[in-house]
């Protein structure tokens, strides 16, 4: 048997428990093959447990394991780093829990915070630069770890309660759709819930629009008086959060 054929059979054994493949590898070593299969599956379960701690706590051991097994069966890992494996679990949970939107939103939050933890470094904008900025024409640069996810439920409140070891609130839909903002400030992953107005402002910054253009859009949306106050408040929050890491 060629090495390529052997490795194909090993994959079939690990992923599909293919007995014919195991027999071709060598049946006298079935105990050893079982060790490898157990290692493969238990490592992936552990990877998902570690990556989705709050989802695990929310669903409970049995339901989480069933979801993990469904994901592992459907989605063998393909990337060299195990860190890449959890990303697809969010979609699996959305499929498994179509009527419980908080599950996928909790999963997105777990995953986004983990990703931010190891994301690229960038120092927040130094305060002494602010006075020198031409605010009409400046294009702000956001933290490279910034991610925005959908928030239709109180997943953020559930996440916070579970993280603090408190009894989580019952899941419910938000009165108005919002968004979850995740980023890393220094070495600490952070998140907060933002309204759709701030979401649109961030999208415009990410599109490379100037701060002046952003304020003009805000005026069209909110009127002159409210837009000035909103732009100032949001900009101040972004600076305090360390979300702005440069400008040009």
């Amino acid at each position: 048997m060629s090495l390529a054929a052997l490795q194909r059979d090993f994959r079939a054994w690990l992923v599909e428990s293919d007995s014919a493949a195991a027999a071709r590898i060598g049946d006298r070593d079935r105990a050893g093959l079982t060790v490898y299969q157990n290692n493969y599956r238990s490592q992936l379960v552990a990877c998902l447990e570690e990556g989705f701690e709050r989802v695990h706590a929310w669903l409970g051991d049995g339901a989480f394991l069933a979801a993990a097994v469904a994901h592992i069966d459907a989605t063998p890992p393909s990337h060299w780093t195990l860190d890449a494996y959890p990303a697809g679990f969010v979609a699996t949970l959305a499929t498994l829990y179509p009527d419980d939107a908080e599950v996928a939103e909790l999963a997105w939050l777990d995953q986004a915070l983990t990703t931010a933890f190891a994301g690229p470094d960038a120092d927040p904008l130094a305060p002494d630069i602010l006075a020198t900025i031409d605010w009409d024409n400046v294009v702000l640069q956001l933290a490279p770890t910034l991610a925005i996810g959908e928030a239709t439920t109180n997943a953020a409140a559930i996440w916070s309660a579970l993280s603090a070891g408190n009894m989580p609130p019952p899941a419910h839909m938000l009165d108005e759709p919002a968004a979850l903002l995740v980023w890393r400030h220094d070495y600490i992953p952070c998140f907060r819930t933002i309204d759709l107005c701030e979401h649109r402002m961030l999208d415009r910054v990410r599109e490379g629009r100037t701060f002046g253009a952003l304020c003009a859009s805000l005026t069209d949306e909110l009127g002159a008086e409210r837009s000035m106050a909103t732009a100032g408040a949001v900009l101040g929050q972004w600076l305090r959060d360390g979300l702005i890491v440069g400008c040009k």
């Binding site: 048997m1 060629s2 090495l3 390529a4 052997l6 490795q7 194909r8 090993f10 994959r11 690990l14 992923v15 590898i25 060598g26 070593d29 105990a31 050893g32 093959l33 060790v35 490898y36 290692n39 493969y40 490592q43 992936l44 990877c47 063998p76 890992p77 393909s78 990337h79 060299w80 780093t81 195990l82 860190d83 494996y85 933890f117 190891a118 994301g119 690229p120 470094d121 490279p144 890393r184 070495y187």
Partner: protein, 277 residues
């Protein structure tokens, strides 16, 4: 052939001990880290590694190169590793004589290889590619294994000898892995140690294992057992002074426990030195 001739005693750096290594002068000659844990864009782990590197020499030990992949190495992986090597300037760069990836599938486990001429050709070609990208020789570690292949035409130590001669790589000799595989497959661990090219061994791993239902399992969640200490003593008579470390990956104890094990390794090394004098 690796030109580093470092001896001394080290530990695997694990996150449970980051504070110890950053806040105290830990009596080790080097630390070893799992390369993939630091092949990331940024964040606290990279910062910690940089700060530890200011205090200690660092060895990079990989688990995902998949040097035995029939369809070759992952260039993106090698480029990431090269960037880390350039930043850390490690004592050694090592990975395992095993495979984990094939045709778009990644098992994330150290899977066994048959020891044949075909595999020797392939492994040596992959080592050459890796050494070319990394710009330095690698160390290859002997694996623990739970399956032996009827089609193998040479022993593991014969394979390691041929691999080193052809590729110019060095060896990371894991004494626990020798014991685990010898027990599982019924060969003599002393014959293994006698058979490996001792002049190519640059680093030694010491670890513990667990007993499964039918086989010994390389769990790295136990102290180094007496059987492995005895093999280390035997190996040192052939190897001479060599960089040695305790490798603990699970059920991580307080740092003092691992330093105690490292002191035991030092005492075995000192006794060997007295015998050799």
């Amino acid at each position: 052939m690796p030109d580093q001739t470092v001896s001394g005693y080290g530990l695997g750096l694990r996150k449970q001990h980051y504070g110890d290594f950053l806040d105290h002068a830990v009596p080790v000659d080097f630390v070893e880290v799992i390369s993939e844990n630091f092949m990331i864009d940024g964040g606290r782990p990279r910062d910690i590694l940089r700060r530890v590197r200011e205090r200690h020499p660092v060895a990079l030990h990989g688990v995902s190169m998949s040097i035995g992949s029939a369809d070759g190495l992952d260039r993106a992986y090698l480029d990431r590793l090269r960037a880390l090597v350039d930043e850390i300037e490690p004592l050694f760069v090592s990975d395992h004589l095993s495979w984990s990836r094939f045709a778009g599938f990644s098992s994330h486990d150290l899977l066994p290889l048959p020891y044949t001429d075909e595999v020797l050709d392939l492994v040596c070609a992959n080592i050459a590619t890796a050494q070319d990208v990394l710009g330095r020789p690698m160390l290859i570690e002997n694996p623990s294994s739970y399956v032996a292949f009827d089609g193998s035409t040479m022993t593991e130590w014969q394979f390691l000898d041929a691999m080193c001669k052809r590729s110019g790589c060095g060896l990371l000799l894991d004494i626990n892995n020798i014991f685990v595989s010898a027990t599982n497959h019924g060969f003599d661990p002393l014959a293994y140690i006698d058979g490996v090219p001792v002049d190519r061994v640059r680093q030694v791993h010491l670890a513990g294992h667990s007993r499964g239902q039918d086989l010994l399992i390389d769990t790295h969640d136990q102290p180094v057992p007496p059987t492995v200490w005895a093999l280390y003593d035997y190996a040192l008579d052939r190897l001479g002074p060599v960089a040695t470390m305790i490798e603990r990956d699970d059920a991580i104890p307080p740092l003092a426990d691992l330093l105690g094990e490292l002191d035991h390794a030092r005492s075995i090394g000192a006794a060997r030195d007295r015998r050799a004098a």
